[in-house]
Symmetry: C2
Subunit: 145 residues, 2 copies
DNA sequence: GTCAATGCAAATCGTTTGCATGAAC
DNA sequence: GTTCATGCAAACGATTTGCATTGAC
């Protein structure tokens, strides 16, 4: 697994800035997230860590702590789809929303500029300063319907 | 607390149709949901039941079971906002989405026809048969920013 | 050497389940 | 009388926390 030096450098910078310690575990978790092309639960991240870095005796609590930390500093983000609990994805791709098949669980990502624009306008009309959003369309995908 | 006879009648009809039993507990939970003007967690519903119907010795498990049942038959629906877990609201109001203040937790409802239309179109483009959706805008409300 | 981060286990939270009892039909 | 729903407590899965130890600086 190759690493993603720009983002790793970014993490180092942030950690230093906050006067915290740079650890191998945080780097491993971030690296897993950067290579994942799916939305992962904390447990899935934990399993991937054990699989890809078998020598690093990392605990599940550390994975949770690392994920919270990475979300806090905006390197990854989370959404709560239905019953599966919180899922994480890295922030290095551009923004997008999700179409979710309620039968097979397949997730398709999409982006729509018009919807984004209207969201901004609605926020403005309600005197909200928008910081993020989450939109999911649920339904049956082509194979399931 | 006055009851909402049309919806209650609807519940009775559904229960009968399914060959199940009509119980006071299901009616109480539905009635709480009909009078709530907020998005409630199961625990909040439980507390409201105890407060409004102190004589009904209802258990938390029954509240969970009643909420699942009511959601299944489409009298209420749920969304999972951030960390607070699943929240329920009654389905007697028209469809809407949510603006959520990340500081004070305030929720403002809104509806936008254009967004709905574009969602339908995106679903169609991806060959999805849409059954529902959930959209939340996060930010700071007028008083918090 | 200091202080933060880790690993482990125990604790906690929200939710679900098993089972004997009670209520609806 | 049969069957479903309830209440309670125990079980459960996911996440968090306390604490002694380790590692970064």
């Amino acid at each position: 697994m190759k690493d993603n030096s720009e983002v790793i450098a970014e993490l180092k910078k942030i950690v230093k800035q906050k006067g915290l310690k740079y650890t191998e575990q945080r780097e491993i978790v971030l690296n897993i997230m950067l290579h994942a092309n799916a939305h992962l639960t904390a447990e899935e991240v934990y399993n991937l860590v054990k699989e890809n870095y078998p020598e690093s005796n990392i605990g599940i609590a550390t994975v949770y702590r690392a994920l919270s930390f990475l979300e806090e500093v905006d390197l990854i983000s989370s959404i709560a789809f239905g019953a599966d609990g919180k899922k994480y994805e890295s922030n290095d791709k551009s923004h997008h929303d999700h179409l979710i098949c309620t039968k097979c669980g397949k997730i398709v990502e999409f982006f729509d500029k018009d919807i984004e624009d209207r969201q901004d306008r609605i926020a403005h009309e309600n005197d909200f300063e928008i910081t993020g959003h989450s939109m999911q369309l649920y339904g049956l995908c082509s194979s399931c319907k």
